[in-house]
């Protein structure tokens, strides 16, 4: 029984509450200074929350810092640089925080003019989230069942197994690939690992994974 459980894939889901930090910034300088002080959970939140926020369209930028820098500070070039930070390259929030900081530093050092300070009502407000992960009750005992049950899972579940598991829980890859590897399906594990979740909506990501397993059911 125990062995069987170990082999099963338990689909979890993540439910998230937004926490306000009360920290707000009005300029690039303030943003840069504050980045180093806010909790890592804030950095994760502002680089990831857009993916879970809505599934019916792709925003211009998924990164909250890039959105604010573009829409409020009108520093388009920096917004593009922030949005192009490859989130797949990181397995810790610390590295991600450093890279966001260095990107702003580099931009500021070449700017040669004062930065804009926005009005109070346009400030960037740092938030973070507190998440709870729990089983959905959906379990797959083998690879065919795994792909058969994928259509049943919610976007929140997908989000957890892809984004949170890799970056916040430090599992290095997504949970699906880890489990498929344990099932001796390195081919599928690799194919799913190579899907970039940061350029897809969650609906698209799910469909792409289901497509990869089309022959397994």
């Amino acid at each position: 029984m125990k062995n069987q459980n170990q082999k099963s894939f338990i689909f979890d889901t993540e439910l998230r509450l937004v926490i306000l930090t009360g920290v707000r910034v009005h300029s690039l300088d303030e943003l840069r200074g504050t980045l180093a002080k806010v909790p890592g959970a804030s950095i994760f939140f502002h680089t990831h929350q857009e993916y879970l926020a809505h599934n019916f369209h792709k925003p211009v930028y998924y990164n909250d810092f890039a959105i604010w820098v573009s829409q409020t500070l009108r520093e388009e070039a920096l917004a593009e640089k922030l949005a192009s930070i490859d989130l797949l390259a990181f397995t810790t929030i610390r590295e991600l925080r450093d890279t966001v900081g260095h990107t702003i530093d580099e931009y500021l050092s070449g700017l040669g003019r004062p930065t804009y300070k926005c009005r109070p009502e346009e400030a960037f407000h740092f938030c973070r989230s507190k998440s709870f992960v729990m089983p959905t009750g959906i379990v797959a005992h083998d690879v065919p069942e795994f792909f058969a049950k994928l259509p049943l899972i919610s976007n929140a579940s997908l989000y957890f197994h892809f984004f949170e598991a890799r970056l916040r829980l430090g599992r290095r890859t997504n949970d699906f690939s880890r489990w498929l590897k344990d099932q001796d399906r390195d081919d599928l594990a690799k194919a799913i690992d190579e899907l970039n979740p940061y350029i897809r909506t969650l609906d698209e990501l799910k469909q792409d994974i289901i497509r990869l397993g089309a022959n397994e059911k």
């Binding site: 979890d12 306000l20 369209h57 109070p120 400030a123 507190k130 709870f132 729990m134």
Partner: protein
């Protein structure tokens, strides 16, 4: 009659309800107590009347208590409320005394029986003094816009708020410097309430015709109280610009606020600006005209909310839910709801509003796709069931303070 959890399943989808059941399983053994200042009238009472039965449906023992206060107390708390909103109000030391005296009386009268006690808004905030004896987790839920509060009133209130286990605000802009956690729960609308539920087309047409509006010609509508910050004159200007291209009608509808002397003056200005144009309909609706408002929005081609300042803007949420393309001022919570070009259009001027209205009136497909996105956005983020989920999460978060991500993946006891 209150709607049940199963009634919502049909509207919000099974996965949202299943999620609530999963969460409720984790806190089902806890008692939840809500305390506010009135059982009828006002947004908070309306919200609790809907939410309390849903908590009970989820198996959570939930009670709702109301504090007592005389006219003097409610005049004081009204003044405090306006001051927290950033209004210019004269505050005296006597007013703080009135607040303290009524708080003392309620401390004697009211029992605190919940494992979680949610105190809504400023009127009952002083009940936190009960915590020492009653125990339990105490949360203070602030429903109002405190982005620019009067420092004296906020300073007074903050002494109470800091004693709670956590606070709850509606938007990031309302966050404060506090020693306790600040959760965010955005406002939500009830899809089954009279203001939002589906209506037969015949009822929509009947309401339009009763107000002399032609259902066959395009209609632009703004639903708002008569307040300069809602820019009704700007909406009339935008409408006149649109009229150069399209035959259309304008509805401005709102109820009069009895405690707002400026409202009467603004209504007069609006009527003067509309004079001579039979296609502008300035409607003063009675309070609780929810079905009427519902029908007016459903009968509209485009909805505007051209606010110059806004808290959250629930009229926008209500219009989006009805699949209407919304043109809104780029302020406050409207920016959370209108994803520019996706669920509506954000504008900064009457001209901008007119340009977008012309674009929408000329493109039925655009109106439909934006309307569909808006409906989806509200379904995912701004319905009552999401508020319920957030309350359940807050109960969990108050019990599991230590980690940003808590794995509840072990089997439950």
């Amino acid at each position: 009659m209150s709607a049940s959890l199963e009634d919502y399943r049909r509207v919000v989808g099974s996965s949202s309800i299943d999620e609530l059941v999963l969460l409720a399983d984790r806190v089902r053994h806890r008692r939840l107590q809500h305390i506010n200042s009135t059982s009828v009238g006002g947004g908070v009472a309306e919200l609790l009347a809907r939410m309390v039965p849903l908590f009970r449906d989820l198996g959570i023992e939930t009670t709702w208590d109301v504090i007592k206060g005389d006219q003097a107390f409610f005049e004081v708390t009204k003044a405090f409320h306006n001051a927290l909103h950033g209004g210019k109000v004269t505050i005296t030391e006597d007013m703080f005394d009135v607040y303290r005296q009524t708080t003392s009386m309620n401390l004697g009268d009211m029992g605190a029986s919940g494992d979680f006690i949610v105190v809504h808004d400023l009127q009952p905030a002083g009940l936190i003094a009960k915590k020492e004896n009653s125990g339990g987790h105490w949360l203070w839920r602030c429903h109002i816009d405190v982005s620019t509060p009067d420092p004296t009133v906020w300073g007074f209130l903050k002494r109470y708020v800091d004693l709670y286990d956590a606070s709850v605000f509606s938007m990031p802009e309302f966050a404060q410097k506090l020693s306790i956690p600040q959760f965010m729960v955005t406002p939500s609308i009830d899809p089954l309430a009279d203001k939002n539920r589906d209506l037969p087309a015949s009822q929509v047409t009947a309401v339009l015709e009763r107000h002399g509006v032609d259902p066959e010609r395009p209609i632009i509508t703004q639903i708002s109280r008569y307040d300069r910050l809602k820019d009704p004159i700007g909406v009339i200007r935008a409408y006149r610009l649109v009229r150069r291209r399209y035959d259309c009608q304008l509805i401005l509808a709102g109820s009069g606020a009895s405690d707002d002397p400026e409202g009467e003056q603004v209504l007069q200005e609006v009527r003067e600006a509309a004079q001579g144009d039979p296609d502008i309909h300035v409607l003063l609706l009675p309070p609780f005209a929810d079905l009427e408002v519902n029908a007016l929005v459903r009968g509209s081609t485009i909805v505007m909310q051209k606010s110059l300042k806004e808290g959250f803007g629930l009229t926008v949420t209500e219009a989006l839910w009805k699949r209407k393309p919304v043109i809104g001022g780029a302020v406050g919570g409207i920016k959370l709801q209108i994803l520019n070009g996706v669920t509506g259009f954000l504008v900064h001027s009457a001209e901008g509003a007119a340009n977008r209205a012309v674009e929408l009136l000329g493109d039925k497909q655009l109106r439909e796709s934006i309307g569909a996105n808006g409906h989806q956005h509200v379904r995912e983020n701004f319905l009552t069931t999401r508020s319920i989920r957030d309350y359940l999460l807050m109960m969990l978060a108050t019990e599991h303070r230590e980690k940003d991500i808590t794995l509840l993946t072990e089997s439950r006891k």
